[in-house]
């Protein structure tokens, strides 16, 4: 079966392509300009501080995802394994290290840029995993650049004021060290401005995702994976805010016109875990053919933070950075998922057991089984990986997905 019904294209997409080009070209120029500075940052690291201090920010995880989407990660991972990185550790990390060792970057074909902008500082937060620390340390050694970051408390149930105060302290110390190393002074008003923009973009992003509570859903997880780029890499900029304003208007229009991302939407599903970047097309085609919309996902929602209403920007940063889904305990995660299942009225959920990212995989401690039993809802767990296709079997996954829809059909009869 092939997708006979045509997909509805997102009009804002053209603008997104141009924005991404500008973003990468600007980063490349900054790296080549001795008067400007580049920092690398984890996806939910202290990037607002870096932006407020005048750094241009590169996000290596985005580069890892690009390697995956280009279907080349598995060609570069062996180089990283050769120098001692385990083949079963984060494939964003191993592919990024391997690609650097082999002198390849997807930015070459996309923008004619040699590779990721050379960093003056590599900043991280281990709120998502410890792998980022090791990943950054590799490049710190390779580029002879300082690596610095924060290690907040992880796997939290309730986030308390003590936790927030502690992380706020970590951020303050990080600022002081960065000020001292680079002879800079952080302007708190500028930080407030950046945080406001960051929060505004994030709120708009959440509103975009929430339009998929409508049936038919105007956008799917697959669209979300593309559309989320600005909320990650352009966080803290007016550009991201303007883009999401435009995208939100388009999605709201779709809802009022009754236009669904999948014509004749039959099934509404939830995606838990990482995407399978090298297989996006095949997977989205399969779900499209089966008339199944993935209306919501944990992954796309990971950058939908609580709103900033003025006040202490560091407290906001501290709170949002530890309130993240990935940084929470199993019970909090389960409660969040249940809330999402209800909010998006899904018929079932798909859990991706990503071989090289245990941190963003939630099928390893019985959660899928508990949810099946508690909710009486079909849940599919399938094996794969975010980037390394060697851990993914197309035939097996497709059978799994088709059987899942057959199971849903059986339940509806």
């Amino acid at each position: 079966m092939s997708a006979i019904v045509k997909r509805v294209e997102i009009k804002a997409q053209k603008r997104l392509k141009a924005l991404l080009r500008d973003y990468f070209v600007n980063l490349d120029e900054a790296a080549k300009d001795p008067t400007r500075r580049v920092a690398w940052c984890t996806s939910v690291g202290p990037c607002e501080i870096l932006t407020a201090m005048g750094f241009e920010v590169h996000f290596p995880e985005n580069h890892g995802a690009q390697l995956g989407a280009r279907k080349v990660s598995h060609l570069h991972i062996p180089r990283a394994v050769g120098v001692g990185y385990c083949a079963e550790s984060c494939s964003y990390m191993t592919s990024d290290i391997g690609a650097s060792l082999s002198g390849y970057s997807p930015l070459q074909e996309a923008y004619g840029i040699e590779g990721p902008a050379k960093p003056d500082l590599l900043a991280y937060s281990t709120n998502q995993c410890r792998e980022v620390q090791d990943w950054w340390n590799f490049f710190g050694r390779r580029f002879d650049a300082p690596v610095d970051g924060i290690c907040p408390p992880t796997h939290l149930g309730e986030v308390t004021s003590e936790h927030i105060a502690f992380v706020r302290g970590l951020l303050e110390a990080f600022i002081q060290r960065t000020e001292a190393s680079f002879g800079l002074k952080l302007d708190m008003d500028r930080l407030k401005e950046v945080v406001s923009l960051s929060s505004r973009a994030s709120t708009l992003w959440r509103q975009v995702l929430d339009t998929a509570t409508a049936a038919p859903a105007p956008l799917t997880f697959w669209d979300g994976l593309i559309q989320m780029a600005p909320v990650i890499v352009m966080r803290g900029s007016q550009t991201a805010v303007d883009y999401y304003d435009m995208l939100l208007a388009e999605m709201q229009q779709r809802v009022s016109d009754g236009v669904g991302a999948i014509p004749d939407e039959q099934w509404r599903l939830y995606w838990e875990g990482m995407p399978v970047w090298p297989k996006l097309r095949e997977l989205s085609d399969k779900f499209f053919d089966l008339r199944a919309v993935i209306a919501a996902s944990t992954y796309c929602n990971s950058w939908a933070f609580e709103e900033y209403n003025g006040g202490d920007p560091l407290a906001w940063m501290a709170k949002t950075s530890i309130e993240l889904f990935i940084n929470r305990d199993e019970n909090t995660k389960q409660a969040f998922l249940e809330e999402m299942f209800d909010k998006f009225a899904v018929d079932g959920a798909v859990f991706h057991n990503a071989r090289t990212c245990p941190n963003n995989t939630n099928s390893r401690f019985g959660m899928a089984q508990r949810l099946r039993e508690k909710r009486g809802m079909p849940i599919l767990v399938f094996d794969g990986d975010l980037s390394d296709v060697r851990f993914f079997s197309t035939a097996q996954s497709m059978t799994n997905i088709e059987a899942f829809i057959e199971q849903l059909q059986e339940g509806r009869r």
């Binding site: 097996q396 059978t399 088709e402």
Partner: protein
Amino acid sequence: MSVPLHVGIDAGSSATKCVILDGEGALIGHHVAPSGFDFGESAEAALTRSLQEAEGKIEDVVSCVSTGYGRESVPQAGRHVTEITCHARGAREWYPQVRSIIDIGGQDTKVIHLHADGRMADYRMNAKCAAGTGTFLESIALKLGVTLSDLDELAMKSSGDTLVNSFCTVFAGTEVLERVKAGEAKENICLGLFRSIATRVSEMMSSRNGAVGVTGGVVAHCRAMIRSLNEVLETEVLLPPMPQHAGAYGAALLAREQK
């Protein structure tokens, strides 16, 4: 007088199975052909031989459902359904009481759990690996220079309860050689291989409630597999009359049920 025929074709990774039902649902023809390189051709061969057995003609076929790895490459089929649904349907027809179905095939192993009313509750397929599948046994038999039925016969002579610990085909091969070198009886080692599969299967079972049916080529040909499953799962598993045809039978039943 011609009768309406309903066909199920299971295009598996190593064998293509065909089942023909008459209008009343009676199984009147079946055949297994090697899958080879071309699923279309093997489906054709299996269908032709099954029709001969059923004494039917191709014009009498009113519905055909394909299943299995090559399900999309069976031109005769009007619809394709996954082997998960088909195995469940076939096994349930033979044993309405089953709540779990274990299918051990050449390339994959699946465990399907059913609700009491027969609806699918949950299913699991083996990870991307030969562990726990027929390929695991075949490749070790090859390494030992014996056939699968030799392996089965030797295993049935064992009175022990050893286990080959490695699920991985390559590591299991090494483990077998180490044990041979250490002087362990080959009967015990062979049984250990079947028990390794049974242990892997037990890990895939999210529920141990109710009767367990087993299907697939491995259980059809190896008594030691049944014995190992009984011992490891601590239950008497139910072996249907045509375990290798469960998927094709389920597909034929679905073909007959389709409106």
